[in-house]
């Protein structure tokens, strides 16, 4: 593998939901250590694109290669999924397990780590996201922000090379958004490859190497946050940013 090979390579991907053409030929490369933030109006295909990267969504045509592994058969898909962590808008913590149980399950079942090692890693990560004292709490006993931080830690426990974030703060009360974004900023500063679908412009400005604006299943514009915020080239980008930035 050459050093210039991108971590994620997306090539002309199409996706239909029934008669809706959700992705209409999207191509995108993400380099190792890069933080890419995708924005766009609802229904623009940004979440679908993210979910295609670890094949939670099947695509109709095109090609996606993650860390040199093409997503074309079931074996590869499971191999790729082990290397990609995803954080969902609705947290999706396992409701029947405690926080530490959530972090340990896949380590034990997928990575086959011994119990002690899995537990040690789980506690380290819960400390990293700032809630070691909640290790034995069930998801229902946690606030939204705490649940999302556990979800991030759960993904990190698999030692992923890539982290995907699908609107991670959209279901949170405003006062809890910061605690989640802080964890994400830490990750970005540690050099994690991240693809983030989010409208948190503060996060994009602080952490994004590149921003992507999507609309109607296409990438309309990509640029540094600086450039996109100050001088968007496309009318649609300008319109959208005007709405979300309340300009």
């Amino acid at each position: 593998m050459s050093t210039t090979e991108p971590m994620i390579h997306i090539e002309n991907v199409h996706k239909h939901f029934g008669r809706v053409h959700a992705l209409r030929g999207v191509s995108l490369d993400v380099q190792k250590g890069e933080v890419v933030v995708i924005v766009g109006p609802s229904g623009s295909g940004k979440s679908t694109l993210l979910r295609c990267i670890n094949r939670l969504e099947e695509y109709d045509s095109g090609r996606i290669v993650v860390d040199g592994i093409p997503l074309d058969n079931a074996q590869n898909i499971n191999a790729v999924r082990r290397e990609i962590g995803i954080v969902f808008q609705s947290f999706n913590l396992f409701a029947h397990l405690t926080a530490i149980g959530n972090l340990m399950l896949a380590q034990r079942v997928v990575r086959k780590r011994p119990k002690e090692e899995a537990q040690k890693i789980a506690l380290e990560l819960l400390t990293k996201v700032g809630i070691p004292e909640k290790a034995w709490a069930y998801p229902i006993q946690l606030s939204g922000g705490q649940q999302q931080r556990v979800a991030i830690a759960r993904a990190l426990a698999m030692n992923p090379k890539i982290m995907l974030f699908d609107e991670p703060t959209s279901a949170l009360d405003p006062e809890m958004i910061k605690e989640v974004l802080d964890v994400m900023l830490t990750l970005a500063s540690e050099g994690m490859t991240m693809v983030v679908v989010s409208h948190e412009m503060g996060f994009a400005r602080a952490a994004a190497d590149r921003m992507i604006f999507m609309d109607e299943g296409l990438i309309i514009e990509e640029a540094t946050p600086e450039r996109l915020f100050t001088s968007p080239h496309h009318e649609r980008t300008k319109l959208f940013l005007g709405k979300v930035l309340h300009m």
Partner: protein, 275 residues
Amino acid sequence: MEAQLKPAPSEKELARIPGAEPRARIDPWWWLVVAVIALTVILITTKSDPFWRILLFVRDGIAITIFITTASFVLILIVGMFGGLGRLAQNRFIHGISSLYVELVRGVPLLVQLIWWYFAFPVVIQQSGRWLNIPAMANYQANAIFTAIAGLVFCYGAYMTEIYRAGIQSIPKGQVEAARSLGMTYFQAMRYVVLPQAVRVILPPVGNEFIALLKDSSLVSVVAVADLTRRGREFMAAHFNPIEVWTMVALLYLVMTLFSARIVSWMEKKTRFER
């Protein structure tokens, strides 16, 4: 960090929250079980002829009823799980087979099914054995207990399939997505994430099925199984005292079903979890 898990609220605190009053230590419905047992004991002791004699006579029938019910139930739980997963399978063949199974079984009365398995099924085996020239099949003789269990499992397995299907479907799709995104296979996601949650959801209907099965097991008396009902009929044929015999049999079933119902609700409390 100084924040710790809050200690459980004291009973005094709980009493102030409507709906969270401390539970009575003994479930009042246990008194019904006690009352029915007491009535049975009084009948046996005050009028030991014929009640005590009936009890002695049907004793082995009770054992057979309990054996058939529990043995069938364990198998039904397994059949239902595979049936439920089959009903939800992407594979059209597997989905079709399990749906056909449910539809066929639901539409035929259990009594007719049991009679078919006992009287018709062995003939099918014998004739195909003769046709295929396999002596072991040609000389096949129905075993009453085996046939009864097979018939009950076949029928109740279909109902259990639907219970499992509903239970699995009640678990949000995001749970499977989260499990798969961590690299788990479909079966790992089912085994470690979906089924443990679904089991808690389906426990009440599964408990109902157990009680229904216990009662329906009386139908196997028509296919030469000496269960409680059949033993009762035998006693009556010999002594002709229907009131005493069938009162006693009814009381014995009642003790068993009431007791099972209490066990089920105790298990529900034990496995209740927060979500």
